[in-house]
């Protein structure tokens, strides 16, 4: 070890020394908890080693598959909508808004949903969708679209759409901001050359913009998938996972296993399973959608 250290150049030693605090922090806040979770997933509450029992219980629980299904449906609703809307807004602003002041205002407006606490968003969303006094039903009634009260949070399909709509409202601006910044990197000369050659708006997007945005799509999918796994507050406030278990996403399910059932072994096993599954999923996505521009 010491010999290897001595073989390093002065610059290399300095680089490692500078990295040391960051690596130490990662070790403390990521590695140690991860090792503890693995130990917990293989033990009972009193620390007795039980092998894969917790994993069998976690994977044998039908509620897990209901939660996976709900999370999958939620993801399939929110991700495409957020990406399409965010992309649409980004292209619209990029191509039509030229005044820096207006661009800055849109930028600030886009930041706002991201900085509002999810709990507050959940409470506001409840005022929109709640049975009896929900604003949405009142508006639909006033404009003559629906005179009967729509049970937004009591019907499984509508409840899922309601919780997903909150996510779309909060996170579409994130997609917009990332893609808009990506569009700023597209060389003006390429666009002007394409325009001189008579390329349509679609052709410009398809053959120039998309080329620069592709790695950002991977980034967005990575971030949003991680976020979907953490979605909790607004679902908890809006539906509490109901009706039944229709909107009980993985995060809510894991919370209940840990803090309602106090089944720490099963909760730890679930955490490991989810982590490994998503690592594999991320690897797959990274292969399908390359991070580097070709």
């Amino acid at each position: 070890m010491i010999r290897a250290w001595r073989r390093l150049s002065r610059d290399e030693r300095l680089a490692y020394l500078i990295l040391l605090p960051a690596l130490g922090a990662v070790f403390v806040v990521v590695t140690i908890p991860f090792v503890l979770v693995i130990i917990q997933s293989l033990s009972t509450e009193d620390g007795t080693f039980v092998g894969s029992v917790n994993y069998s219980r976690a994977l044998g629980n039908p509620l897990l598959y209901e939660a996976i299904r709900a999370t999958g449906v939620y993801t399939l609703i929110v991700l495409p909508i957020e990406i399409l809307l965010g992309l649409g807004f980004a292209l619209l602003v990029h191509r039509t808004v030229r005044r820096p002041g207006l661009r800055a205002s849109i930028y600030v407006l886009a930041i706002l949903p991201l900085v509002v606490p999810p709990v507050a968003i959940g409470v506001v969303a409840r005022l929109i969708y709640a049975p009896g006094y929900g604003v949405l039903n009142v508006i639909l009634d006033r404009i003559g679209i629906a005179h009967q009260e729509i049970n937004w949070l009591g019907d499984p399909t509508l409840a899922m759409l309601a919780v997903a709509s909150v996510d779309v409202w909060q996170w579409t601006p994130f997609v917009y901001l990332v893609l808009f910044s990506g569009l700023q990197t597209v060389p003006r000369e390429s666009v002007e050359a394409a325009q001189i050659d008579g390329a349509s708006g679609w052709a410009q997007f398809r053959y120039i913009d998309l080329h620069y945005l592709r790695p950002l799509f991977v980034l967005i999918i990575f971030f949003r998938l991680a976020d979907v796994l953490r979605v909790f507050d607004h679902v908890f406030i809006l539906t509490g996972g109901g009706p039944g278990t229709a909107t009980q996403l993985l995060s809510l399910y894991m919370y209940r296993v840990e803090f309602k059932f106090f089944d720490t072994g099963q909760a730890a096993a679930l955490a490991v399973v989810v982590l490994v599954s998503f690592s594999l999923l991320y690897t797959l996505i990274a292969r399908v959608l390359p991070l580097e521009r070709a």
Binding site: P131, N151, G154, P156, A159, G240, P243, F259, F261, F262
Partner: protein, 433 residues
């Protein structure tokens, strides 16, 4: 001189060093400068916050009330107890939490450690709910060899009751059949005959348990065998989710207590179950409610077997094992439940446990539910099953009732599936099932 001073300083520091190094908590006979209470945020701890400064001015001990929302308080306490932390000298506990904390051995016994005895002015059930293992009903297998001790003293004497519009109905419903008949009679467009609090998990569970019990159903029998799929249990939930639901508000599967209170307070509903805090906080609150003085409060109506069983929802004060100020914390509890101090507490919005205060006509004027609460306590209301697995059981049961309310499953299918899940969970926890 220097050496002498140093030696003197070291000698005088020894007690402090020993104290700091002592491994476990102590009963703490010394008067502390501060007592910290972990409390639930909301109507339940409001009166406590108001009277705590009085104790502070009388004793010089600073009372710090640290508030948490309901769910977070439970999680915070469990994790603090697991670590034997000394952050809190007192903690507020919902009564269904007692089995978890009792099983964990997380609290200091109030009777043997601090000399608490029963007061004849306080119903025995109030002491029973703070006792572990439970003095009656089934005892968890792991707890059967433990000796009983008092671990918590009720400071919020919640019992679930029933409320209806007395300005519309001349007689009080005595049975659930009467409730159904009234629901049908008074139901009209934009005025609901009954309000179901049917949101998933705790709300649906709390709302339905009194009906379940009044119909002779239950989650467990006396030997922890699951009986949620019994005929009586299915009949009870069918009554709630099909018969009463015909006259209930739309979207009942997503209704919690605040939504129920809103419907009652704006005069859009005839009747429902209720908790005392809902009465004082909304339904009878001047300037908030349109039905002040129009509601009557009665114990839970009777089921087919002739019994009506209310549900306890007491909030207790206990002393965590990790507290280093046990004696001072116990003194505060003793001070708080003294008759005069409890009266001041009630005048500040508190819900008493003393029969003399519940039957005090002057206090009853501003708290119209007091007679019903006194009757409910005297009639020995039911408590939720005394098992450390209650949170899991409630989550499963409350989800099943919600599914039935939402019409996603028939009551029979929902309860049968829930019974199977509860059997599995209880078996894993070492209960016979």
């Amino acid at each position: 001189m220097k050496r002498t001073a140093l030696a003197g300083a070291m000698l005088t520091s020894i007690p402090a060093i020993l104290e700091a190094c002592s491994s476990g908590p102590t009963s703490g006979n010394n008067k502390p400068s501060k007592l910290t209470i972990a409390a639930v945020q909301g109507a339940e701890d409001g009166p406590l916050k108001k009277v705590a400064p009085m104790y502070q001015s009388q004793t010089g001990i600073t009372m710090e009330v640290v508030e948490f929302p309901y769910d977070q308080l439970f999680e915070k306490l469990v994790t603090t107890f697991q670590a034997n932390g000394s952050s809190y000298d007192l903690c507020m506990m919902d009564d269904p939490w007692m089995p978890k904390f009792g099983t964990m051995g997380a609290l200091q016994p109030l009777d043997s450690n601090f000399g608490f005895t029963r007061d004849s002015d306080i119903p025995s059930i109030v002491y029973d709910v703070g006792t572990w293992p439970p003095p009656h009903g089934p005892v968890p297998p792991s707890e059967q060899s433990k000796s009983q001790h008092l671990y918590g003293i009720t400071i919020v004497g919640n019992v679930e009751m029933f409320m209806y519009r007395k300005d519309l109905a001349t007689t009080a419903p005595t049975s659930w059949d009467d409730v159904l008949a009234n629901a049908q009679k008074f139901n009209k467009p934009n005025f609901y005959g009954y309000v179901i609090r049917g949101k998933a998990t705790n709300p649906a569970s709390s709302d339905s348990l009194p009906i379940l019990w009044s119909f002779g159903g239950d989650i467990f029998d006396t030997s922890w065998k699951v009986k949620l799929d019994s005929t009586e249990s299915i009949d009870a939930i069918t009554f709630l989710t099909q018969s009463l639901k015909k006259y209930a508000e739309p979207g009942a599967a997503n209704i919690d207590a605040a939504d129920r209170d809103r419907l009652i307070a704006i005069g859009q509903a005839f009747q429902s179950t209720t908790w005392p805090a809902e009465v004082t906080g909304v339904v009878e609150a001047q300037g908030v409610s349109q039905v002040v003085g129009k509601m009557a409060y009665i114990p839970i109506p009777k089921g087919p077997g002739g019994k009506g069983l209310g549900m306890m929802g007491n909030w207790l004060l206990g002393i965590p094992k990790g507290s280093k100020n046990g004696s001072a914390a116990a003194d505060f509890i003793k001070w708080l439940i003294k008759s005069d101090n409890m009266k001041t507490y009630v005048q500040n919005g508190g819900i008493p446990t003393r029969t003399s205060l519940l039957n005090d006509p002057a206090l009853g004027q501003s708290n119209p539910y007091f007679p019903a609460l006194a009757q409910s306590l005297a009639a020995q209301p039911n408590w939720r099953p005394r098992t450390d697995q209650w949170n899991a059981v409630e989550t499963i049961y409350g989800t099943a009732v919600n599914q039935a309310v939402a019409g996603l499953k028939t009551p029979k299918d929902a309860l049968t599936a829930a019974a199977t899940q509860i059997r599995t969970a209880m078996k894993q926890a070492g209960y016979p099932s």
